[in-house]
């Protein structure tokens, strides 16, 4: 693997880890979703960088485009759930969602 791939992998790992930490630590529902968006950026960066390193940008672009479409559907569904939760509890605090014990 070319050396530039490791550069992109470095940044991608930073993004994904920041997103994962925020997912565990944050309490505002919308912040949790921003964390998911950051993870998605890390993943799409990694996918395209891999294609770039292999001189295969076209396939990588197709993957990233598809991934972005999936991401949009996911965001729509998640935000719909968040808005419904807000209507129930009048708050965006994830600690209010502690009724189920998991």
């Amino acid at each position: 693997m070319t050396n530039t791939w490791y550069l992109y992998l470095f940044f991608s790992a930073a993004l994904i880890s920041a997103g994962l930490y925020a997912l565990l630590a944050k309490r505002n529902l919308i912040k949790l979703f921003i964390a998911i968006e950051v993870i998605a950026k890390g993943v799409s960066l990694l996918l395209l960088a891999t294609g770039f390193a292999r001189n295969n940008v076209l396939v990588a672009q197709a993957l990233v485009v598809t991934f972005i479409v999936i991401e949009v559907s996911l965001v729509a569904t998640a935000l719909a759930i968040i808005i419904n939760i807000y209507r129930h509890t009048k708050s965006l605090d994830v600690r209010r969602l502690a009724k189920l014990k998991g």
């Binding site: 550069l7 940008v57 672009q61």
Partner: protein, 160 residues
């Protein structure tokens, strides 16, 4: 290379900012700027289609959806984040970056890869003819998203 690296640093910076900022609106804007930078990074990797998609969809559409949600959920009390988590985060992040850099340095040249063949064809062909099942999947996931939103916002005449 310098430009690319600085763009990448900007991307990570704005993403972290989006996570840390307390005002949700500013966080959404920060996320949009990060998407913009990512789109430019894609352009510079000769991936113009991915760049356009990233900018128009993620920096555009998703930011609009975010701001819509923020507007609809505005009247509740502000959620106070854990102070401990906010303090620990920079520490964690810096430590992670250091470990990350060392691991990457150690992995240099260690991951084997098959040689790559030169690429041919146009993006349209690759997407429509090369990865057609992906398109079926995209249609399915868009349908799923649309029906989900319709189902989750339907009029309730009875509530249990």
């Amino acid at each position: 290379m310098i430009v690319q690296t600085s763009l990448l640093v900007g991307l990570v910076l704005f993403s972290v900012l989006a996570i840390l900022l307390r005002d949700l609106l500013k966080a959404a804007v920060s996320l949009a700027v990060a998407s913009l930078l990512l789109g430019i990074i894609f352009f510079r990797m000769n991936a113009s289609y991915a760049g356009v998609f990233e900018i128009s969809v993620v920096a555009g559409l998703i930011t609009v959806l975010f701001i819509l949600t923020i507007a609809l959920t505005n009247k509740g009390e502000e959620v106070r984040e854990s102070k401990l988590a906010n303090l620990v985060f920079p520490l964690f992040f810096v430590v992670f970056i250091i470990i990350d850099a060392l691991v990457m340095k150690g992995l240099l040249q260690k991951i084997p890869a098959l040689p790559s063949s030169p690429e041919s064809g146009a993006f349209g062909d690759v997407l429509w003819k090369g990865r057609t099942l992906d398109l079926v999947g995209q249609i399915a996931v868009i349908l799923a998203g649309v029906f989900s939103v319709l189902a989750l916002f339907r009029k309730r005449d009875k509530h249990d």
